[in-house]
Amino acid sequence: MRAPLVVLATLIAAPALAGDYSEGSNANSWGLTGEEKATFTATVTDAVCALTSDCPADCGAGERVMVLVRESDGMVIPATKNLQTGFQGPTWDLAPYCGQTVQVDGLMVGDDPKLGGRLYQVQMIKPDGGDWTKANGFTRPWEARNPDATGKGPWFRRDPHVRARLEDTGYLGLGQEADDVFIAEEY
């Protein structure tokens, strides 16, 4: 009788244990809403592939929204941010591992009840048989796509596509006159 009871207790406890992926995580805290360190094994794919049968071999080569399919429970987790500070997503970090099983380390984020799941910030990636690498791979592909965006300042100040919109519709998106009024009142 003792053995079945142990199994029963394990089964009852399993859902709670399944939700804790913090053990072994070396992720850095960012002080985010609902933040929880999490390291787990997952298959790298893109969101369109995970939802439909549209699965390019390269997961869009950095240009598709990426997800992680967690090995332990099959959960599809949106990969939303990489390790870099400054508005960079993780698509260029994850796409090279498209279709592969990797271990990731980072932060589960969000506690909005309207969001039934949570988002993931990828800080580190370890391919099967490989070493841990930082998920900071946005900048070089951006520079390759924007060779003329040189000069001082961070990438997002120099991005030509953003700059074109800002010159057209302003920082509030309401036109230059609205920016003029706002700046005159607030600064």
């Binding site: 009788m1 079945p4 199994v7 029963l8 089964l11 960012w30 809403t33 609902g34 933040e35 893109d46 969101a47 369109v48 995970a50 939802l51 439909t52 549209d54 869009g60 950095g62 240009e63 598709r64 929204v65 990426m66 399919v69 429970d73 099959g74 959960m75 599809v76 987790i77 949106p78 939303t80 941010k81 400054g86 508005f87 960079q88 997503g89 698509t91 984020v109 969000g110 909005d112 309207k114 969001l115 039934g116 949570r118 988002l119 910030q121 946005f138 951006w142 924007n146 997002f156 991005d159 596509h161 953003v162 919109r165 920082y171 509030l172 998106g173 309401l174 920016d179 706002f182 700046i183």
Partner: protein
């Protein structure tokens, strides 16, 4: 006892299978604001009311250019992760969706729900209301450095 264990094991097996199954899309017509999902859910820039609309417009463009997933926030608070836009799945290319950041959009497409997250494949934009959520009136700009000194000093 064995029957109970078998039933529980079966329940677990069913749950695992469901979690690994592909989702089935449903046609949807929805109106919502195009937002940056990372700032909205992570709180990195402040509360959710401050990281939408005109206050957060420049930051939303930076995030979209950086490949952070874009969302569609509906009036009831539901957020759909946008993964296709008028047939285009390459939404992290640094250019897609820049023109509609912070806009309120009426769209139709296919909605998917997977593991608690809502996704939308936008097939057609039926109406673009532009930026109607004038949050800068209450919050200024988020982040505070969004407008550079060079513009302020003009």
């Amino acid at each position: 006892m064995n029957r109970i264990l078998a039933a529980m094991a079966m329940t677990g097996a069913i749950g695992m299978t469901t979690g690994a199954m592909a989702s089935e899309g449903k046609p949807i017509e929805v109106t919502g604001e195009i937002i940056d999902t990372w700032c909205y859910f992570s709180g990195v820039m402040g509360g959710p009311d401050a990281v939408v609309g005109s206050a957060h417009h420049t930051c939303a463009m930076w995030c979209a250019a950086g490949g952070i997933p874009v969302g569609m926030l509906t009036p009831d608070g539901t957020v759909y992760m946008v993964v296709k836009w008028e047939g285009n799945a390459d939404l992290a290319d640094g250019q897609a969706l820049l023109d509609v950041q912070s806009h309120t959009i009426k769209a139709k497409g296919m909605a998917y729900e997977r593991d608690g997250i809502n996704y939308i494949f936008v097939e057609d934009v039926l109406e673009d209301q532009g930026i109607v959520n004038l949050t800068h009136e209450d919050y200024g700009v988020i982040p505070g450095f969004a407008i550079p000194d060079s513009r302020i000093e003009q």
